[in-house]
Symmetry: C2
Protein backbone atom coordinates (compact mmCIF):
# COMPACT_ATOMS: atom_id res chain seq x y z
CA UNK A 1 0.00 0.00 0.00
CA UNK A 2 1.08 3.56 -0.72
CA UNK A 3 2.47 6.13 1.69
CA UNK A 4 -0.77 8.08 1.29
CA UNK A 5 -2.78 5.08 2.41
CA UNK A 6 -0.50 4.52 5.42
CA UNK A 7 -0.96 8.16 6.42
CA UNK A 8 -4.74 7.88 6.20
CA UNK A 9 -4.70 4.70 8.29
CA UNK A 10 -2.53 6.41 10.91
CA UNK A 11 -5.00 9.28 11.00
CA UNK A 12 -7.92 6.87 11.43
CA UNK A 13 -6.08 5.03 14.22
CA UNK A 14 -5.45 8.33 15.99
CA UNK A 15 -9.11 9.31 15.63
CA UNK A 16 -10.45 6.08 17.10
CA UNK A 17 -7.95 6.20 19.96
CA UNK A 18 -9.05 9.76 20.74
CA UNK A 19 -12.64 8.55 20.80
CA UNK A 20 -11.63 5.61 23.01
CA UNK A 21 -9.88 7.99 25.42
CA UNK A 22 -13.00 10.17 25.60
CA UNK A 23 -15.17 7.10 26.31
CA UNK A 24 -12.80 5.82 28.99
CA UNK A 25 -12.68 9.26 30.59
CA UNK A 26 -16.46 9.51 30.55
CA UNK A 27 -16.85 6.07 32.16
CA UNK A 28 -14.30 6.89 34.85
CA UNK A 29 -16.11 10.15 35.66
CA UNK A 30 -19.49 8.39 35.76
CA UNK A 31 -18.18 5.81 38.23
CA UNK A 32 -16.55 8.51 40.33
CA UNK A 33 -19.87 10.37 40.35
CA UNK A 34 -21.65 7.18 41.40
CA UNK A 35 -19.22 6.50 44.25
CA UNK A 36 -19.33 10.06 45.55
CA UNK A 37 -22.96 10.80 44.65
CA UNK A 38 -21.67 13.76 42.71
CA UNK A 39 -24.65 15.24 40.86
CA UNK A 40 -22.62 17.90 39.04
CA UNK A 41 -20.09 15.39 37.65
CA UNK A 42 -22.89 13.03 36.59
CA UNK A 43 -24.47 15.89 34.64
CA UNK A 44 -21.16 16.66 32.93
CA UNK A 45 -21.00 13.04 31.74
CA UNK A 46 -24.53 13.21 30.31
CA UNK A 47 -23.69 16.48 28.52
CA UNK A 48 -20.42 15.23 27.03
CA UNK A 49 -22.07 12.33 25.16
CA UNK A 50 -22.76 14.60 22.17
CA UNK A 51 -19.01 14.94 21.60
CA UNK A 52 -18.57 11.16 21.50
CA UNK A 53 -21.48 10.90 19.05
CA UNK A 54 -19.78 13.46 16.80
CA UNK A 55 -16.46 11.57 17.01
CA UNK A 56 -18.20 8.34 16.02
CA UNK A 57 -19.60 9.86 12.84
CA UNK A 58 -16.18 11.33 11.93
CA UNK A 59 -14.46 7.95 12.41
CA UNK A 60 -17.05 6.16 10.29
CA UNK A 61 -16.82 8.75 7.52
CA UNK A 62 -13.01 8.52 7.54
CA UNK A 63 -13.14 4.70 7.45
CA UNK A 64 -15.56 4.72 4.52
CA UNK A 65 -13.45 7.30 2.71
CA UNK A 66 -10.34 5.11 3.01
CA UNK A 67 -12.26 2.06 1.75
CA UNK A 68 -13.57 4.03 -1.24
CA UNK A 69 -10.26 5.70 -2.13
CA UNK A 70 -7.75 2.89 -1.57
CA UNK A 71 -9.74 -0.37 -1.75
CA UNK A 72 -7.44 -2.09 0.74
CA UNK A 73 -7.18 -5.89 0.96
CA UNK A 74 -6.29 -8.58 3.56
CA UNK A 75 -5.13 -7.24 6.95
CA UNK A 76 -5.57 -3.61 5.83
CA UNK A 77 -9.18 -4.27 4.86
CA UNK A 78 -9.80 -6.12 8.12
CA UNK A 79 -8.34 -3.20 10.05
CA UNK A 80 -10.71 -0.68 8.46
CA UNK A 81 -13.78 -2.91 8.83
CA UNK A 82 -12.91 -3.71 12.45
CA UNK A 83 -12.38 -0.02 13.15
CA UNK A 84 -15.85 0.77 11.79
CA UNK A 85 -17.34 -1.92 14.06
CA UNK A 86 -15.31 -1.00 17.15
CA UNK A 87 -16.29 2.61 16.58
CA UNK A 88 -19.92 1.54 16.85
CA UNK A 89 -19.27 -0.28 20.12
CA UNK A 90 -17.43 2.72 21.55
CA UNK A 91 -20.35 4.98 20.77
CA UNK A 92 -22.73 2.52 22.46
CA UNK A 93 -20.47 2.41 25.55
CA UNK A 94 -20.64 6.21 25.55
CA UNK A 95 -24.46 6.10 25.41
CA UNK A 96 -24.70 3.53 28.19
CA UNK A 97 -22.28 5.58 30.29
CA UNK A 98 -24.51 8.64 29.84
CA UNK A 99 -27.56 6.56 30.86
CA UNK A 100 -25.66 5.28 33.88
CA UNK A 101 -24.75 8.85 34.83
CA UNK A 102 -28.39 9.92 34.52
CA UNK A 103 -29.37 7.25 37.06
CA UNK A 104 -26.43 8.24 39.24
CA UNK A 105 -27.81 11.77 39.32
CA UNK A 106 -31.06 10.28 40.59
CA UNK A 107 -29.28 8.28 43.32
CA UNK A 108 -27.30 11.39 44.33
CA UNK A 109 -30.64 12.91 45.32
CA UNK A 110 -31.50 9.89 47.53
CA UNK A 111 -28.49 9.69 49.86
CA UNK A 112 -30.25 7.36 52.33
CA UNK A 113 -30.33 4.41 49.87
CA UNK A 114 -27.10 2.40 50.22
CA UNK A 115 -25.49 1.37 46.93
CA UNK A 116 -24.87 -2.38 46.67
CA UNK A 117 -21.21 -3.39 46.93
CA UNK A 118 -21.59 -5.64 43.85
CA UNK A 119 -22.26 -2.55 41.71
CA UNK A 120 -18.76 -1.30 42.49
CA UNK A 121 -17.24 -4.72 41.79
CA UNK A 122 -19.06 -4.80 38.43
CA UNK A 123 -18.00 -1.22 37.71
CA UNK A 124 -14.33 -2.07 38.35
CA UNK A 125 -14.54 -5.16 36.11
CA UNK A 126 -16.41 -3.36 33.31
CA UNK A 127 -13.96 -0.46 33.36
CA UNK A 128 -11.02 -2.91 33.28
CA UNK A 129 -12.62 -4.75 30.34
CA UNK A 130 -13.07 -1.53 28.36
CA UNK A 131 -9.46 -0.51 29.08
CA UNK A 132 -8.06 -3.93 28.21
CA UNK A 133 -10.10 -4.28 25.03
CA UNK A 134 -8.66 -0.97 23.85
CA UNK A 135 -5.12 -1.95 24.91
CA UNK A 136 -5.64 -5.18 22.96
CA UNK A 137 -6.64 -3.04 19.97
CA UNK A 138 -3.59 -0.78 20.20
CA UNK A 139 -1.13 -3.69 20.63
CA UNK A 140 -3.06 -6.25 18.52
CA UNK A 141 -2.86 -8.48 21.58
CA UNK A 142 -5.00 -11.60 21.09
CA UNK A 143 -4.17 -12.94 24.57
CA UNK A 144 -5.44 -9.80 26.27
CA UNK A 145 -8.55 -9.83 24.06
CA UNK A 146 -9.18 -13.41 25.23
CA UNK A 147 -8.93 -12.27 28.87
CA UNK A 148 -11.60 -9.63 28.22
CA UNK A 149 -13.97 -12.28 26.81
CA UNK A 150 -13.43 -14.48 29.85
CA UNK A 151 -14.14 -11.67 32.31
CA UNK A 152 -17.54 -11.08 30.72
CA UNK A 153 -18.96 -14.14 32.45
CA UNK A 154 -18.13 -12.73 35.88
CA UNK A 155 -19.98 -9.50 35.07
CA UNK A 156 -23.00 -11.46 33.78
CA UNK A 157 -23.11 -13.47 37.00
CA UNK A 158 -22.87 -10.36 39.17
CA UNK A 159 -25.77 -8.81 37.25
CA UNK A 160 -27.90 -11.90 37.88
CA UNK A 161 -26.95 -11.71 41.56
CA UNK A 162 -27.98 -8.01 41.65
CA UNK A 163 -31.39 -8.86 40.19
CA UNK A 164 -32.02 -11.38 43.00
CA UNK A 165 -30.65 -8.96 45.61
CA UNK A 166 -32.94 -6.12 44.48
CA UNK A 167 -36.00 -8.39 44.41
CA UNK A 168 -35.27 -9.68 47.91
CA UNK A 169 -34.54 -6.22 49.27
CA UNK A 170 -37.74 -4.61 48.01
CA UNK A 171 -39.78 -7.61 49.17
CA UNK A 172 -38.55 -6.85 52.69
CA UNK A 173 -38.96 -3.07 52.45
CA UNK A 174 -40.73 -1.35 49.56
CA UNK A 175 -40.01 2.19 50.81
CA UNK A 176 -36.81 2.64 48.74
CA UNK A 177 -38.19 0.96 45.63
CA UNK A 178 -37.06 3.71 43.24
CA UNK A 179 -33.52 3.73 44.58
CA UNK A 180 -33.14 -0.02 44.10
CA UNK A 181 -34.71 0.02 40.64
CA UNK A 182 -32.18 2.69 39.63
CA UNK A 183 -29.37 0.47 40.93
CA UNK A 184 -30.69 -2.46 38.94
CA UNK A 185 -30.64 -0.15 35.90
CA UNK A 186 -27.01 0.79 36.64
CA UNK A 187 -26.13 -2.90 37.00
CA UNK A 188 -27.74 -3.59 33.62
CA UNK A 189 -25.83 -0.73 31.96
CA UNK A 190 -22.56 -2.08 33.37
CA UNK A 191 -23.41 -5.53 32.07
CA UNK A 192 -24.05 -4.10 28.59
CA UNK A 193 -20.87 -2.00 28.69
CA UNK A 194 -18.99 -5.25 29.43
CA UNK A 195 -20.76 -6.85 26.43
CA UNK A 196 -19.55 -4.09 24.12
CA UNK A 197 -15.98 -4.44 25.48
CA UNK A 198 -16.30 -8.15 24.62
CA UNK A 199 -17.42 -7.24 21.09
CA UNK A 200 -14.33 -5.03 20.73
CA UNK A 201 -12.09 -7.85 21.99
CA UNK A 202 -13.67 -10.27 19.51
CA UNK A 203 -13.10 -7.79 16.70
CA UNK A 204 -9.45 -7.47 17.70
CA UNK A 205 -9.13 -11.27 17.47
CA UNK A 206 -10.77 -11.19 14.05
CA UNK A 207 -8.49 -8.38 12.92
CA UNK A 208 -5.36 -10.28 13.91
CA UNK A 209 -6.44 -13.81 13.05
CA UNK A 210 -8.85 -13.18 10.16
CA UNK A 211 -11.36 -15.55 11.72
CA UNK A 212 -14.72 -14.54 13.22
CA UNK A 213 -14.79 -15.52 16.88
CA UNK A 214 -18.32 -14.51 17.82
CA UNK A 215 -20.91 -16.66 19.58
CA UNK A 216 -18.27 -18.98 21.02
CA UNK A 217 -18.50 -17.33 24.43
CA UNK A 218 -20.56 -19.07 27.08
CA UNK A 219 -24.02 -17.62 27.63
Amino acid sequence: MTLHFQREVEKLKKMILNEAAAVEDSLQKALHALKNRDLELARQVVDSDDEIDAMEIEVEEEGLKILALYQPVAIDLRFIISTIKINNDLERIGDLTANLAARTAYLAKAPDVPIAEDIFIMATLAQKMVKESLDALVNMDVGLAQTVCETDEQVDNLHKKMFIFVEETIKKDISNLDGYMQQLGISRYLERIADHATNIAEDVMYMVEGKIRRHVRPN
Copy 2:
Protein backbone atom coordinates in the same frame (compact mmCIF):
# COMPACT_ATOMS: atom_id res chain seq x y z
CA MET B 1 -18.82 -3.74 -11.97
CA THR B 2 -18.54 -7.19 -13.48
CA LEU B 3 -21.22 -9.84 -13.85
CA HIS B 4 -19.38 -11.89 -11.22
CA PHE B 5 -19.64 -9.05 -8.75
CA GLN B 6 -23.34 -8.58 -9.46
CA ARG B 7 -23.91 -12.28 -8.83
CA GLU B 8 -22.08 -12.14 -5.52
CA VAL B 9 -24.09 -9.11 -4.45
CA GLU B 10 -27.33 -10.87 -5.37
CA LYS B 11 -26.22 -13.84 -3.28
CA LEU B 12 -25.41 -11.58 -0.32
CA LYS B 13 -28.79 -9.84 -0.66
CA LYS B 14 -30.54 -13.22 -0.65
CA MET B 15 -28.59 -14.30 2.42
CA ILE B 16 -29.44 -11.22 4.46
CA LEU B 17 -33.11 -11.43 3.43
CA ASN B 18 -33.18 -15.07 4.56
CA GLU B 19 -31.72 -14.00 7.89
CA ALA B 20 -34.25 -11.16 8.11
CA ALA B 21 -37.10 -13.61 7.44
CA ALA B 22 -35.81 -15.92 10.19
CA VAL B 23 -35.61 -12.99 12.63
CA GLU B 24 -39.12 -11.78 11.75
CA ASP B 25 -40.47 -15.31 12.12
CA SER B 26 -38.78 -15.70 15.49
CA LEU B 27 -40.17 -12.39 16.75
CA GLN B 28 -43.68 -13.27 15.58
CA LYS B 29 -43.49 -16.64 17.36
CA ALA B 30 -42.17 -15.02 20.55
CA LEU B 31 -45.06 -12.54 20.59
CA HIS B 32 -47.56 -15.30 19.89
CA ALA B 33 -46.06 -17.30 22.77
CA LEU B 34 -46.35 -14.24 25.03
CA LYS B 35 -49.99 -13.64 24.14
CA ASN B 36 -50.99 -17.28 24.56
CA ARG B 37 -48.56 -18.10 27.39
CA ASP B 38 -47.25 -20.89 25.20
CA LEU B 39 -44.24 -22.38 26.97
CA GLU B 40 -43.40 -24.83 24.19
CA LEU B 41 -43.35 -22.15 21.47
CA ALA B 42 -41.25 -19.84 23.69
CA ARG B 43 -38.68 -22.63 24.08
CA GLN B 44 -38.59 -23.17 20.30
CA VAL B 45 -37.73 -19.48 19.85
CA VAL B 46 -34.90 -19.70 22.40
CA ASP B 47 -33.51 -22.81 20.67
CA SER B 48 -33.67 -21.36 17.16
CA ASP B 49 -31.38 -18.42 18.02
CA ASP B 50 -28.30 -20.52 17.18
CA GLU B 51 -29.42 -20.68 13.55
CA ILE B 52 -29.66 -16.89 13.34
CA ASP B 53 -26.19 -16.60 14.91
CA ALA B 54 -24.82 -18.94 12.24
CA MET B 55 -26.53 -16.93 9.48
CA GLU B 56 -24.98 -13.72 10.81
CA ILE B 57 -21.45 -15.12 10.58
CA GLU B 58 -22.09 -16.38 7.03
CA VAL B 59 -23.39 -12.97 5.91
CA GLU B 60 -20.42 -11.16 7.43
CA GLU B 61 -17.93 -13.56 5.84
CA GLU B 62 -19.65 -13.18 2.46
CA GLY B 63 -19.63 -9.38 2.76
CA LEU B 64 -15.94 -9.31 3.67
CA LYS B 65 -15.13 -11.70 0.82
CA ILE B 66 -16.86 -9.39 -1.70
CA LEU B 67 -15.01 -6.35 -0.34
CA ALA B 68 -11.69 -8.19 -0.59
CA LEU B 69 -12.25 -9.67 -4.06
CA TYR B 70 -13.97 -6.79 -5.88
CA GLN B 71 -13.07 -3.62 -3.98
CA PRO B 72 -16.38 -1.96 -4.85
CA VAL B 73 -16.83 1.83 -4.76
CA ALA B 74 -19.66 4.37 -4.26
CA ILE B 75 -23.18 2.88 -3.92
CA ASP B 76 -21.82 -0.69 -4.23
CA LEU B 77 -19.39 -0.11 -1.36
CA ARG B 78 -22.12 1.51 0.73
CA PHE B 79 -24.39 -1.45 0.07
CA ILE B 80 -21.82 -3.97 1.36
CA ILE B 81 -20.89 -1.90 4.42
CA SER B 82 -24.55 -1.28 5.26
CA THR B 83 -25.28 -4.99 4.86
CA ILE B 84 -22.52 -5.83 7.35
CA LYS B 85 -23.99 -3.35 9.82
CA ILE B 86 -27.63 -4.36 9.29
CA ASN B 87 -26.55 -7.97 9.69
CA ASN B 88 -25.24 -7.07 13.13
CA ASP B 89 -28.54 -5.41 14.09
CA LEU B 90 -30.52 -8.42 12.87
CA GLU B 91 -28.45 -10.75 15.02
CA ARG B 92 -29.03 -8.49 18.03
CA ILE B 93 -32.79 -8.48 17.36
CA GLY B 94 -32.56 -12.28 17.28
CA ASP B 95 -30.77 -12.31 20.66
CA LEU B 96 -33.28 -9.92 22.23
CA THR B 97 -36.14 -11.99 20.85
CA ALA B 98 -34.64 -15.11 22.47
CA ASN B 99 -34.30 -13.22 25.78
CA LEU B 100 -37.91 -12.05 25.46
CA ALA B 101 -39.02 -15.65 24.83
CA ALA B 102 -37.12 -16.83 27.92
CA ARG B 103 -39.07 -14.35 30.05
CA THR B 104 -42.28 -15.36 28.31
CA ALA B 105 -41.60 -18.95 29.37
CA TYR B 106 -41.39 -17.66 32.93
CA LEU B 107 -44.70 -15.77 32.62
CA ALA B 108 -46.35 -18.86 31.10
CA LYS B 109 -45.73 -20.56 34.43
CA ALA B 110 -47.46 -17.73 36.36
CA PRO B 111 -50.88 -17.53 34.69
CA ASP B 112 -52.40 -15.42 37.49
CA VAL B 113 -50.26 -12.34 36.68
CA PRO B 114 -52.06 -10.23 34.05
CA ILE B 115 -49.84 -8.95 31.23
CA ALA B 116 -50.03 -5.17 30.79
CA GLU B 117 -51.90 -4.03 27.69
CA ASP B 118 -49.04 -1.61 26.82
CA ILE B 119 -46.71 -4.59 26.30
CA PHE B 120 -48.90 -5.74 23.41
CA ILE B 121 -49.06 -2.23 21.96
CA MET B 122 -45.24 -2.01 22.15
CA ALA B 123 -44.92 -5.50 20.65
CA THR B 124 -47.15 -4.55 17.70
CA LEU B 125 -45.16 -1.34 17.11
CA ALA B 126 -41.75 -3.03 17.45
CA GLN B 127 -42.76 -5.82 15.10
CA LYS B 128 -44.07 -3.27 12.58
CA MET B 129 -40.79 -1.31 12.83
CA VAL B 130 -38.70 -4.43 12.17
CA LYS B 131 -40.89 -5.35 9.19
CA GLU B 132 -40.85 -1.82 7.76
CA SER B 133 -37.11 -1.36 8.24
CA LEU B 134 -36.55 -4.55 6.22
CA ASP B 135 -39.09 -3.50 3.57
CA ALA B 136 -37.24 -0.17 3.39
CA LEU B 137 -34.02 -2.16 2.84
CA VAL B 138 -35.50 -4.32 0.06
CA ASN B 139 -37.06 -1.36 -1.76
CA MET B 140 -34.42 1.26 -0.79
CA ASP B 141 -37.34 3.30 0.49
CA VAL B 142 -36.07 6.35 2.40
CA GLY B 143 -39.62 7.52 3.25
CA LEU B 144 -40.48 4.24 4.94
CA ALA B 145 -37.13 4.28 6.77
CA GLN B 146 -38.04 7.74 8.05
CA THR B 147 -41.39 6.41 9.34
CA VAL B 148 -39.53 3.72 11.30
CA CYS B 149 -37.33 6.35 12.99
CA GLU B 150 -40.38 8.38 13.94
CA THR B 151 -42.18 5.39 15.48
CA ASP B 152 -39.24 4.77 17.81
CA GLU B 153 -40.27 7.68 20.03
CA GLN B 154 -43.67 6.09 20.69
CA VAL B 155 -42.01 2.84 21.80
CA ASP B 156 -39.61 4.75 24.08
CA ASN B 157 -42.53 6.57 25.70
CA LEU B 158 -44.47 3.34 26.23
CA HIS B 159 -41.41 1.79 27.92
CA LYS B 160 -41.17 4.77 30.28
CA LYS B 161 -44.88 4.38 31.02
CA MET B 162 -44.37 0.65 31.76
CA PHE B 163 -41.61 1.47 34.24
CA ILE B 164 -43.95 3.76 36.18
CA PHE B 165 -46.80 1.23 35.93
CA VAL B 166 -44.66 -1.61 37.33
CA GLU B 167 -43.35 0.54 40.18
CA GLU B 168 -46.87 1.65 41.13
CA THR B 169 -48.28 -1.87 40.85
CA ILE B 170 -45.69 -3.50 43.09
CA LYS B 171 -45.96 -0.69 45.61
CA LYS B 172 -49.64 -1.60 45.97
CA ASP B 173 -49.11 -5.37 46.01
CA ILE B 174 -45.68 -6.98 46.22
CA SER B 175 -46.97 -10.55 45.90
CA ASN B 176 -46.47 -10.76 42.11
CA LEU B 177 -43.14 -8.94 42.10
CA ASP B 178 -41.37 -11.48 39.87
CA GLY B 179 -44.13 -11.47 37.27
CA TYR B 180 -44.01 -7.68 36.97
CA MET B 181 -40.22 -7.56 36.87
CA GLN B 182 -40.32 -10.06 33.99
CA GLN B 183 -42.79 -7.82 32.17
CA LEU B 184 -40.53 -4.83 32.66
CA GLY B 185 -37.75 -6.94 31.16
CA ILE B 186 -39.95 -7.78 28.17
CA SER B 187 -40.80 -4.09 27.76
CA ARG B 188 -37.08 -3.25 27.79
CA TYR B 189 -36.32 -5.92 25.16
CA LEU B 190 -39.07 -4.54 22.92
CA GLU B 191 -37.65 -1.04 23.33
CA ARG B 192 -34.20 -2.30 22.31
CA ILE B 193 -35.61 -4.27 19.37
CA ALA B 194 -37.21 -1.01 18.20
CA ASP B 195 -33.80 0.71 18.59
CA HIS B 196 -32.16 -1.86 16.31
CA ALA B 197 -34.95 -1.46 13.73
CA THR B 198 -34.18 2.28 13.87
CA ASN B 199 -30.48 1.54 13.27
CA ILE B 200 -31.43 -0.52 10.20
CA ALA B 201 -33.64 2.30 8.92
CA GLU B 202 -30.80 4.81 9.42
CA ASP B 203 -28.44 2.51 7.51
CA VAL B 204 -30.93 2.28 4.65
CA MET B 205 -31.00 6.09 4.51
CA TYR B 206 -27.20 6.14 4.48
CA MET B 207 -27.10 3.51 1.77
CA VAL B 208 -29.42 5.47 -0.49
CA GLU B 209 -28.29 9.00 0.33
CA GLY B 210 -24.62 8.44 1.20
CA LYS B 211 -25.04 10.62 4.29
CA ILE B 212 -24.87 9.36 7.89
CA ARG B 213 -28.17 10.08 9.63
CA ARG B 214 -27.43 8.87 13.14
CA HIS B 215 -27.96 10.83 16.35
CA VAL B 216 -30.48 13.16 14.75
CA ARG B 217 -33.40 11.29 16.29
CA PRO B 218 -34.96 12.79 19.40
CA ASN B 219 -33.82 11.16 22.64
